[in-house]
Amino acid sequence: MAVLFRVLSVFLLVMTVFMFSKPALAEEDRLDRIEKELGEIRKENNELKLRLKEIETDDEEVRHNLQKLSSLVEVSGYADAEFYFTDQENENNKFRIRHLSLFFSKDIQKEWKLFSEIEYEDAPLIESRHTTDISDKVQGKLFVEQMYIEYHPQVKWDMRLGRFLTPAGIWNIYHYPPFVPTQERPLMVRKIFPQVCDGIQLRNSFTLNDSILDTHLYIANGSGNPGRLDRNENKGIGARVNADIIYGLSAGASYYREKDNQNINADSYGVHLLFNHAPFKFQTEYQFRHNAPESARSFNDKGLYAQLTYDIAKWTFAGRWDWYDSNDTDSKNDLFRYTGAVNYHFAHNVVGKVEYNRNEFDDPAVKDYNEVILAIVVAIGDL
């Protein structure tokens, strides 16, 4: 009897376990199915995401290409307006629209490009009825600062034919107001080497000891003979070389030779150094010109400047020491300038500037004077 009771108990126990475990197993199956379905949905979702990303990329590529195609001529440039205060004799305080410079650039073919810079300086007023031909009334100047056709078969070299900035030193090439801390240029700039040249220029970049050596060679009409004034004689020739010595440090030299319209044989020499190590930037240039008139005594003019800038957040602080001697046979005509400037970058292409210049003359007959410039400068074009 006891045995029968034991067997019956075990039977009942097994039955109970069986009856309760069946729904649990069914539940597990259902969960497995749901999990599998979820996995498939996740997989599909990822595939859709990838596809969507592809479509977005396609769309962006199309827009990028369209943008390139639709820009018939690329326009960029800069403009600035300034208050100018001075205590210089015979000079007055003024507000002026200093520059409106427009660059037009067009890739004509893969290897050919047209580049031009039209500059309106001091807001010229020119009327068709010739009422403003008197220079005092014209006020400013309208100037084709650059216009050349460029042939660039490789990034290592290109050739430019037309009018270009004279490749000399640093400031003569890199001087656009949105990107330099001062409105006034160093004293010697444009006095020793000409501002622009009409002619042909060859740039070649060589790899030298693991760094790049940039060279410019050019032949031009000479500083006094733009456009139709050229009589195809007394051509000016020049060269510039710049080497990146180590990252952030570059140095170079420039040379220009010409016989100008006053029959003065002029040989210009320059050396430059740039140390660009954020947040500091230091640049200095020394230029020297030997002037040999055909029927007078030779003389030299020379100049030097050193400029240090410091960038901190949206601010740039700059200091510059400047010297120019227009004739070294006369001991009284040295000019010194001490400049301090603060720039505030409202945006990458909007800069506010405050600049102070102290100008001191060797000649006691010339009175030293001060200048304060408040300017707003904008760059046109994207970063």
Binding site: L165, F179, A313
Partner: protein, 147 residues
């Protein structure tokens, strides 16, 4: 004494302001699969992104891609490789481009996906994207990674 304190304070403030770079996600430098190089140093990258190297060892011209100046990844790259803020580096390029003196300026793209696509199609191309966006990708070759 007060003057010395003031100078110390100003110098400390300048230092803090000047070094506001932040580390971010892992950046992968990528090139086309056909490019013979397998790795690239930070020094070489610096030279490429400043136009001090213009072509690869086999003579192929380098095409440089980068992200737009607003992209945080570009700032990380710029601070690490070029040692300056992305906006400052962009301003320097803008000056070179404006004066038409830029030899081979980087081409800025709005998305990493487009950079990957461009690099997968152009033999001489190089660019940088986040590692997560190219992990396991068969289209390009990763030649360097850094944070």
């Amino acid at each position: 004494m007060r003057f010395k304190k003031a100078v110390c304070f100003i110098l400390a403030a300048l230092f803090i302001f000047a070094s506001t770079g932040k580390a971010g996600e892992v950046i992968a430098v990528i090139v086309n699969k056909a490019n013979p190089i397998n790795s690239i140093s930070e020094g070489e990258l610096k030279k490429i992104y400043t136009n001090n190297i213009l072509s690869w060892s086999d003579g192929t011209a380098i095409i440089i891609y980068e992200l737009s100046v607003q992209d945080p990844l570009r700032n990380i790259f710029s601070q690490r490789i070029l040692e300056k803020e992305a906006e400052k580096a962009a301003e320097e390029w803008a000056h070179l481009k404006l004066t038409n003196q830029a030899k081979n300026p980087p081409l800025a793209m709005k998305s990493e996906a487009l950079i990957i696509r461009k690099i997968s199609r152009e033999k001489g191309a190089i660019g940088y994207v986040s590692l997560a966006s190219v992990r396991g990708s068969q289209q390009i070759k990763i030649v360097s990674t850094f944070e």
